[in-house]
């Protein structure tokens, strides 16, 4: 099974030095994990500035609380949990934005927004999903969270996680299909 991008080995010496407050060791850890941390924050909030803010806050929290990290689980798992928690609380703080509905998206694409249609790949399909659905599908499919863990993060039941995952996947499939069919019709018209 593909691993989470967070699954990076960290040597004990660096960790011990960072625990003692050695800033060089902290920087080494930051450089190792910055990109996976930023990526997951970005996938959740879809905003570059906010993702950077979330990542900064998460790293500061982790370094300040490093003394409390007992080392009985891998460091990356702990860091990932902190980043995801920060990202989800930022979603809670953010003003509620309604997810773009599928028909809205089709409408836009058909009404002269050709660029959207052309750039419609997995990345942009993901961006069309509502924030919660996107977070759930990402945490489950890419980061390997199970439904219990996702339910705990959102303070909901496992059924909530399962339903939202299935809805998110089917939305993504529909979006990808619509892009594919549009691509085919464009090709046919061109030939």
């Amino acid at each position: 099974m593909a691993n989470s991008p967070f699954e990076i080995e960290l040597d004990d010496l660096t960790l011990a030095r960072a625990r003692r407050g050695d800033l060089d060791a902290c920087e080494r850890i930051f450089r190792k994990f910055n990109q996976p941390a930023y990526s997951v924050a970005y996938r959740v909030c879809q905003c570059r500035e906010l993702a950077q803010e979330i990542t900064q806050e998460a790293f500061i929290t982790v370094f300040r609380k490093l003394g409390q990290f007992r080392g009985d689980a891998p460091f990356w798992g702990w860091l990932r949990r902190v980043v995801v928690n920060h990202a989800i609380s930022s979603l809670r703080r953010a003003p509620k934005a309604d997810p773009i509905e599928l028909q809205d998206f089709h409408g836009k694409a058909e009404s002269a927004s050709d660029q959207v249609g052309l750039a419609m790949d997995l990345e942009s399909a993901l961006a069309v999903l509502g924030a919660q659905d996107r977070t759930i599908v990402w945490l489950h499919d890419v980061e390997g969270y199970n439904h219990r863990e996702i339910a705990d993060l959102f303070g909901k039941t496992e059924s909530f996680s399962k339903t939202r995952l299935s809805r998110a996947r089917s939305q993504l499939r529909d979006l990808l299909k619509s892009r594919e069919s549009r691509g085919l019709s464009r090709n046919a018209a061109a030939s």
Binding site: C26, R48, Q56, R64, Q68
Partner: protein
């Protein structure tokens, strides 16, 4: 064979192959900002620790008298010299009880007090962590008592403010 099994499991886990999307690069380097926050935090911790250590004896004496006079039920008349391990542990327990009772009484705190409270609780957690490895360290117990003393003072101030606000209504 093993490969195909792994492949099938992966397909089930990530049917849309979202994992194939590349990592996103951050727009700028956050390290300088994180570094400066950590430096500030370390400086603040040092100040709290050192000022706590310097005032330890005076604080301990004041505390012993204070607990004895103010809340006789909480302070079972500490008679031993406060710098012994046992007396520090007793003081720590008494302060913890006191903090717990303040915490249940106090209303909402202003942000700066809240930040300070979290800082103090963080530091207490760190001392506890170290105490789990060196449970007989006089220095660690003394740090714990000083931090609890600060925390208790913070709650007392807040309760005083709450009381004044209520009285002015």
């Amino acid at each position: 064979m093993r490969y195909s099994k792994v492949h099938i499991m992966q397909k089930e886990r990530d049917p849309l192959n979202l994992g194939s999307l590349p990592l996103v690069a951050p727009p700028s380097d956050s390290w300088p900002m994180i570094r400066s926050a950590l430096v500030k935090h370390q400086r603040r911790r040092r100040v709290i620790r050192y000022s706590g250590s310097l005032l330890a004896a005076a604080a301990m004496l004041t505390l012993t008298v204070g607990l004895f006079i103010h809340q006789p039920t909480l302070a079972p008349a500490p008679v031993a010299a406060p710098q012994t391990l046992d007396s520090l542990i007793v003081l720590s327990q008494q302060l913890e009880t006191r903090v717990r009772s303040y915490r249940s009484e106090v209303g909402g705190m202003p942000t700066n007090s809240l930040v300070y409270q979290v800082e103090l609780e963080d530091l207490i957690a760190q001392v506890d962590d170290e105490l789990s490895m060196r449970p007989d360290s006089l220095e660690l117990w003394s740090q714990r008592v000083n931090l609890l003393l600060d925390l208790s003072q913070l709650y007392q101030n807040q309760l005083r403010r709450d009381y004044q606000r209520m009285a002015s209504l």
